[in-house]
Amino acid sequence: MEEAKEREPIIEVKNLTAGFGEEIILKDVSFSVYQGEIFVIIGASGCGKSTLLKHIVGLYDPVAGNVYIDGDDITTADDIELSRILRKIGVLFQSGALFSSMTLWENIALPLQEYTTLPEDVIDIMVRMKLQMVHLEGYEEKYPSELSGGMQKRAALARAMALDPKILFFDEPSAGLDPVTAAEIDLLVKQINTSLGTTMVIVTHELASIFTIAQRVIMLDREEKGIIATGTPHKLKEKCQDVRVQNFFNRKPALSAVKEKRRAAQPCLAE
């Protein structure tokens, strides 16, 4: 904990309350993500992981609270500020969200052509470089529909990295992928994190992937509408007594456990 505090936070979520209409999904959530770390948001389906992610990247407006990205509040930013903040981040959506009418080359070149004045030759080199990083050299002229799911994810990662973002967000990167392909994505995430120092914020519930890549984890819960545990995955699994955390890490069905009231009153800290 002490060690983490010394590092500089790049994302600060302060007292975020999120919801749609009357329904509140997250209440008074606060946490920080530090520069260069791989930060993982976990939790059972429906606990608001993806909602939290979409609030951090500015897709949804919060009911209350603030989200600071590299010092700028994304919740109050006007259009010009917002586009400046958004250039610092890249988002990899669950389904990849590649534009199906464009080739991979065009998908990745799009942000470069729109946001920079670089000549076409340099953009071409950059696009090839990004594709090389995700091991998709030679697929420049392919359309997304001609690729497998894992390749689409990797191509989407290349697009998310087009403008060299400081922070990369992943919404369930290994969803729908076979273990081998999912492990490849994890490896890529680690490689990019170590060589470029990009901060990674990942929403997932893939246990294998959590243990391989996560440096720090927060766990959300639907009933609590907030964070119930923070820490490294191994320590959470070993030390945290909260039954919900234990069920998650041990893949235990919670149907019978609902009646057990062995729940921590305070969020579990295991760092």
């Binding site: 534009f99 199906s100 670089l118 000549p119 090389q132 990295m161």
Partner: protein
């Protein structure tokens, strides 16, 4: 650009939004670019321009080095311009080297292989040449494929209809009524408005000509017959094509993209009879009714012009219309409208089923649904005209 002397060597120093570029001659054959500061996506374009403008013109220099010792930040754009510059310099006959890469910026260089990038950048994409035979072949294959899918679809429709007749209860009647509302009731205002305007325009244009001969009253004949026989059914059909044909294609297409059509198949439903049949039947049902409304309002439009600008009485106009039109005029128009509706809804659903798994494809097929719908309407109208002419 500032020029000053550092010791006895002439040095170019340049500042480009956070990046400094210095060109220092090193020995007789070599020049070194010292780059410092940050080279990022924001200033890479100008850094590249700057370096290109500084490239030595001295022919004795055969080697150019890029010294990155003092670079603080360099992102992929920075790496890309170096790769690009190396290519340019090689073309001009220089040897090129990148030296002193500090560990803090070497990240990209560990992830990418710049040499192979350079090779890739040098091998230009082979330009596709137009090949007439290839083109003709592709067009023919496409046409054959289209024929095949039309025939398949027709066959499936016939099977669906037969099974509907045998088991009428299996039909999705809720869907049928829903589509009657969407394709019929919801279309009433626009059909009425456009038909009224069409009647007004027709009557007005005719009046200008007929007035010269004192034949004002024949405006009623002209408007009545042309609306009942041609314009009513045609205009209504075009509106149905734009509204319902497009919506059928987009809806079924999106269902294909999200695998809902596949889900239907695995649950043992025939997608054609499940999705297309209620839509086509509903459209066929509302087609003639909408046309009837269009006919009526169109004649009303003619009547308005007749009364206001031709000084005809309402009775005289309607009487003239009544004597001019025959039951056959109305009937032939309604028959046509049924055929048009079948064609529009059919091609709309067919295009929906032809959608491949992409957003792009949904757009293309929806456009195609409307275009082929209107083409089929006009084509069928031509055939009807010939048939009615001889019988």
């Amino acid at each position: 650009m500032r020029l000053f002397f550092l010791g006895r060597k002439r040095v170019n120093l340049n500042n480009t939004d956070g990046a400094q570029i210095r060109l220092v001659p090193a020995g007789r054959k070599k020049s070194t670019f010292f780059i410092s500061g940050s080279v990022t996506v924001d200033n890479s374009a100008s850094v590249r321009e700057e370096i290109l403008s500084l490239v030595p013109t001295d022919i004795t220099i055969s080697m150019v080095e890029f010294d990155l010792k003092d670079v603080v930040v360099m992102d992929s754009a920075g790496v890309a311009i170096l790769v690009d510059l190396r290519k340019h310099l090689k073309e001009r006959g220089f040897d090129c080297k990148i030296i002193n890469v500090p560990p803090r910026i070497s990240g990209f260089l560990t992830l990418v292989d710049t040499d192979s990038l350079l090779e890739l950048a040098e091998t230009k994409k082979p330009e596709k040449k137009f090949n007439l035979i290839l083109f003709l072949g592709e067009v023919t294959l496409e046409a054959l494929e289209e024929c095949r899918s039309v025939v398949t679809f027709l066959g499936e429709m016939v099977i669906a209809l037969v099974s509907l007749l045998r088991h009428p209860k299996k039909m999705r009647w809720d869907d049928f009524f829903l589509f009657i509302e969407r394709a019929g009731t919801d279309a009433l205002p626009i059909v009425a408005l456009l038909s009224l305007l069409m009647g007004l325009i027709m009557a007005f244009q005719a009046a200008v000509q007929l007035r010269q001969f004192g034949a004002n009253i024949f405006v009623a004949d002209l408007v009545g017959i042309s609306i009942l026989r041609e314009l009513g059914p045609l205009l209504t059909a075009i509106i149905i094509a734009g509204r319902s044909g497009a919506s059928f294609a987009a809806e079924i297409g999106t269902m294909k993209v999200s695998e809902e059509v596949d889900a239907l198949t695995t649950m043992g439903f025939e997608p054609v009879s499940f999705l297309a049949l209620p839509r086509i039947l509903a459209a066929t049902f509302v087609g003639p009714f909408l046309t009837l409304v269009g006919d009526f309002v169109g004649i009303l439009g003619g009547l308005i012009v007749g009364m206001i600008s031709l000084d005809l009485s309402a009775t005289a106009y309607l009487e003239e219309t009544y004597t001019a039109i025959t039951f056959f005029d109305l009937f032939s128009g309604l028959i046509k409208s049924v055929a048009f509706a079948v064609l529009i809804a059919g091609v709309g659903c067919l295009r929906g089923f032809q959608v491949e798994r992409s957003a792009d494809s949904v757009g293309k097929k929806t456009t195609s649904a409307v275009v082929s719908g209107i083409f089929l309407i006009v084509f069928a109208d031509a055939i009807f005209t010939i048939i009615f002419h001889y019988f």
